[in-house]
């Protein structure tokens, strides 16, 4: 059997490699939901004739499963481009020196705070962290307005967040630690437990819990919320903390992987992803993402970013905090008594 296996595998691999080489292609790893990213990447294929080979992430391990795969493959990178659903996973790769710098001419009109001056990463088409409220369970008058309402006793046992060990909730918690410092943020985290906040497996699961009325409201991403609204579910979307620290906005980001097999096609893909065309496409898609450029057309239900009060965030710092915070978040998710966060000093106004 070993001979048969060996012969067949060598034949399959050689055939696969040759077929691969004969085509013009680019390899993308993405943590953006497949249902939203797939049409964009098909659009690139259609426009350029370059074949796109993709690895998508699963809902439960959103962002991090793919990131770990990139880290595990760093000695022999398989990917050309990482298209992340948030800005901080890209920062982790930048910090570990796994990124090839490229300043895309197409990204010149993207606001400076959403791209690296040295071309290490570039952001576009943002999502926000919003409160999804079941309108049958919560009247407009009593609806929550801040993420701090998660620890308000009137909502005890009636709210949900996704497991902060994964996905954008990790970033959100890291942003709070970065902003508030570890003492205040850890107190907030402890209060989430004592107030009976349900821990869902993912933001999509938070959406399902709210839509089905199992909780009154939950903290999730704008794309999950937009899908719920579009499905006709009895829900409202609240951008939290508009009279306070602002809503956390997360541009999707793209980076070129150093040592990837198709660097020139990777640049073309980056040019395409940051284009007006893609921002507009994602604004009109069911994910209803917020274009970072004001000049890009958007449907009425997608807010103008300039009209929103945005949480002031230094994505690089949040990425560092996020890596420090991971063991604590794991312990917190496991409700382990005495879980201690790393010491992080608050930084608010000075952050970009």
């Amino acid at each position: 059997m070993i001979g048969v296996l060996g012969f067949a595998l060598v034949a399959a691999a050689v055939c696969d490699c040759r077929c691969g080489r004969s085509r013009s292609e680019v390899v993308v790893y993405t943590s953006v939901d497949q249902v939203f990213s797939e049409p964009v990447l098909k659009g690139f294929e259609h426009k350029t004739g370059i074949r796109v080979r993709v690895v998508y992430d699963t809902e439960e391990t959103k962002s991090t499963g793919i990131l770990n795969r990139l880290l595990a493959e760093r000695k022999s990178p398989q990917a050309d481009v990482f298209w992340s659903g948030d800005p901080v996973r890209s920062q982790v790769l930048v910090r570990r020196g796994l990124v090839r710098r490229y300043i895309s001419a197409a990204a010149r009109d993207i606001p400076a705070q959403f791209r690296a001056a040295d071309g290490a990463w570039v952001g576009f088409s943002a999502r926000g962290r919003v409160l999804l409220v079941n309108s049958k369970k919560v009247s407009p008058a009593e609806q929550p307005r801040s993420i701090r309402d998660l620890i308000d006793s009137r909502w005890r046992g009636r709210t949900a967040i996704a497991n902060p060990a994964f996905g954008t909730t990790t970033m959100h918690m890291a942003a709070l630690f970065s902003r508030w410092g570890s003492r205040r943020a850890a107190a907030f985290m402890a209060a989430l437990h004592s107030n009976g906040v349900k821990i869902a497996t993912s933001n999509g699961e938070v959406k399902r819990l709210v839509v089905s009325g199992e909780v009154a409201w939950g903290l999730t991403d704008t794309d999950d919320a937009a899908v719920a609204v579009k499905s006709g579910a009895p829900v409202r979307v609240v951008y939290p903390d508009q009279d306070g620290m602002g809503t956390l906005m997360m541009p999707t980001t793209a980076v070129i992987i150093k040592g990837g097999p198709n660097p020139s096609h990777a640049k073309r893909l980056i040019d395409y992803l940051v284009s007006h065309e893609v921002e507009q496409r994602l604004a009109f898609a069911p994910c209803a993402q917020v274009p970072l450029r004001q000049s890009v057309k958007r449907p009425a239900h997608v807010p103008d970013p300039s009209s929103l009060r945005k949480m002031s965030v230094d994505y690089g710092r949040v990425a560092r905090v996020m890596e420090q915070l991971q063991p604590y978040l794991r312990d917190w998710s496991a409700r382990r008594a005495g879980a201690k966060p790393p010491v992080i000093s608050p930084r608010a106004a000075s952050a970009r």
């Binding site: 059997m1 070993i2 993308v28 074949r51 080979r53 795969r69 595990a72 999509g204």
Partner: protein, 540 residues
């Protein structure tokens, strides 16, 4: 009466083939596991005794291990309650309806358990069929208990009961009919089943139960979908969260690896016992269930068929009529379907050819054969995440990128996972063939290679096709083995179904699952026809 035990002694060539079998197990399973321990694929070091100890003694992990063991126990109990009567009925029935009923019964086993759980959620979820028919309050009630441990038990029991059924039926067919008939002369059917039939079938039933137990322990996707935290998901989490701790994942997986090792040893012992008893007694396939027993068994059979079919039908309905579904939805998953078919065909072909060459000696060299196949058995029962991690440790190296970058890595992984299944099916077919045919060939003095080419192969053509179909179905249902390293653009149908779960319209996700159901069903129908033909040819 059965034919006498085989008397010839294979020569050097046969021993070489056994050596090749051992080497296959070594390369596919033994080497990756060894490299995982010695050189894990991580910036952190390998699992230390301290990390293993802390993993085993941590109260949180112990709690999760308790949940996993509880779920595994419940699923095993339910599969025994349904699978044993079904298996006895299957072993002794001569009904023409048996073949289609068995195809329906086997369908959930041949699908990723995730798809079965998804199908049940389309009935019992908040917006499922139950809610549409009975109103919102019914949906609230059904989803309340489905999204939890009860749902996990239901979905996994439906998916895994056929394992107990097949093991029970296999042993019930081979049991000594004269002892059953003697029991019937002195006691009623109930007492005979309890005191004669079940004890004789106990090794088979036990083996099935062990396999179910260990498969539930390693399951990640279904508990995740149904919001239950289990031990295996922590292991997976160590690979998926930002801290990326493969060493710790391995430490946490060790209790599961130990359980898998015990199960593999148990299955080996059962198999060795089965080999010793083969062919010396009158088979019991001519027995008939009495009225009461028949009614009970038919009740179980029909209930089981409804549990398999109803959720699948609802899922197909959603795929055809739901948002994102229809022809467009089915077309959108065409690429993943083609990937799955490629992986399945490649894996099935390699395993069938390999098993055709090696399984004969494996079958004849009972204890030695069982021992050399142990690594492959371990490959089948190991938690998929651990095996996947071991493959990453082995093949993600600069010198092996030619393999790791290609579809071949998926085929390699699936071969390691399902080689034992191929050996078992070929052996099963060989056991169906009268020994006299092989002995006659041997006595004429024909060499082993020619005997294999002129006697074994033609006799086993049907069974080889059956082996191909079985391993094909196993390969296209696999989800967790390849999720960590499938090549870019190479997502399989089960993977697509899982990644689409994030925000895709229900019809689109259901369409991907429906394609899986149709391909599996078609394969099962062909396999059932072949099996029917083979058994009728040998035992007309």
């Amino acid at each position: 009466m059965g034919s006498p035990a085989r008397t010839w002694r294979p020569g050097v060539a046969a021993w070489l083939r056994l050596g090749a079998l051992l080497a296959t197990g070594g390369v596919l399973v033994g080497l990756p596991l060894a490299l995982l321990v010695i050189d894990p694929p991580a910036p952190v070091g390998p699992a230390s005794p301290v990390s293993v100890w802390s993993a085993v003694t941590d109260p949180h992990f112990r709690g999760l291990l308790g949940t996993s063991l509880r779920l595994a126990s419940w699923v095993t109990i339910v599969t025994l309650v349904v699978g044993v009567p079904y298996g006895l009925w299957l072993a002794w029935t001569r009904s023409r309806a048996a073949t289609p009923l068995v195809v329906v019964h086997l369908l959930p086993l041949c699908l990723p358990p995730y798809v079965t759980a998804l199908a049940w959620s389309s009935i019992l979820g908040r917006q499922g069929l139950a809610a549409r028919l009975g109103g919102e309050s019914v949906g609230v009630w059904t989803s309340g208990w489905y999204y939890g441990e009860i749902g996990v038990v239901l979905a996994l029991a439906v998916a895994l009961t056929p394992i107990v059924t097949l093991f029970t039926a296999g042993f019930a067919r081979r049991m000594d009919a004269s002892r059953v008939e003697a029991g019937l002369l002195h006691r009623g059917w109930g007492a005979t089943v309890l005191r004669v039939v079940l004890p004789m079938a106990a090794p088979g039933i036990g083996a099935g139960a062990l396999l179910v137990f260990v498969l539930v322990l390693g399951e990640v996707a279904v508990p995740q979908l149904l919001r239950v935290r289990v031990y295996a998901s922590v292991v997976f989490g160590r690979l998926a969260d930002l801290s990326f701790q493969p060493g710790e994942a391995l430490a946490l997986a060790l209790p599961m690896v130990l359980v898998s090792g015990v199960v593999a040893a148990g299955l080996y012992l059962v198999d060795a016992g089965g080999r010793q008893s083969r062919g010396v007694r009158a088979p019991a396939s001519g027995l008939r269930l009495p009225g009461g027993g028949f009614a009970l068994a038919m009740g179980v059979v029909l209930l089981s068929s409804a549990a398999a079919l109803a959720p699948m039908a609802e899922l197909v309905f959603t795929a055809l009529t739901g948002p994102g579904g229809g022809a467009e939805g089915l077309r959108a998953s065409g690429g993943a379907l083609s990937n799955s078919l490629g992986y399945g065909a490649g894996t099935a072909t390699i395993l069938t050819v390999g098993a055709a060459i090696l399984a004969a000696q494996w079958s004849e060299r009972s204890r030695v054969g069982g021992l050399v196949a142990l690594p492959l058995l371990l490959g089948l029962v190991l938690p998929a995440g651990v095996y996947a991690l071991a493959l990453v440790a082995t093949w993600n190296r600069p010198s092996t990128q030619w393999l790791y970058r290609s579809d071949a890595i998926v085929i390699l992984a699936l071969c390691g996972r399902y080689a034992y299944v191929a050996l078992r099916v070929v052996k099963l077919g060989r056991d169906q063939s009268p020994d006299a045919w092989f002995e006659a060939a041997h006595l004429t003095g024909v060499g082993p290679l020619r005997r294999w080419w002129t006697i074994d192969l033609p006799l086993q053509l049907d069974i080889l096709v059956l082996t191909w179909l079985t391993t094909f179905v196993m390969a296209i249902r696999d989800l967790e083995t390849t999720v960590l390293f499938y090549p870019p653009g190479g997502e399989s149908l089960p993977l697509r179904t899982m990644t689409l779960e994030a925000n895709a319209p229900p019809g689109l996700t259901a369409a991907a699952a429906t394609l899986q159901i149709f391909v599996t069903l078609a394969t099962l129908v062909v396999a059932a026809v072949l099996w029917h033909r083979t058994t009728r040819r040998v035992h007309p």
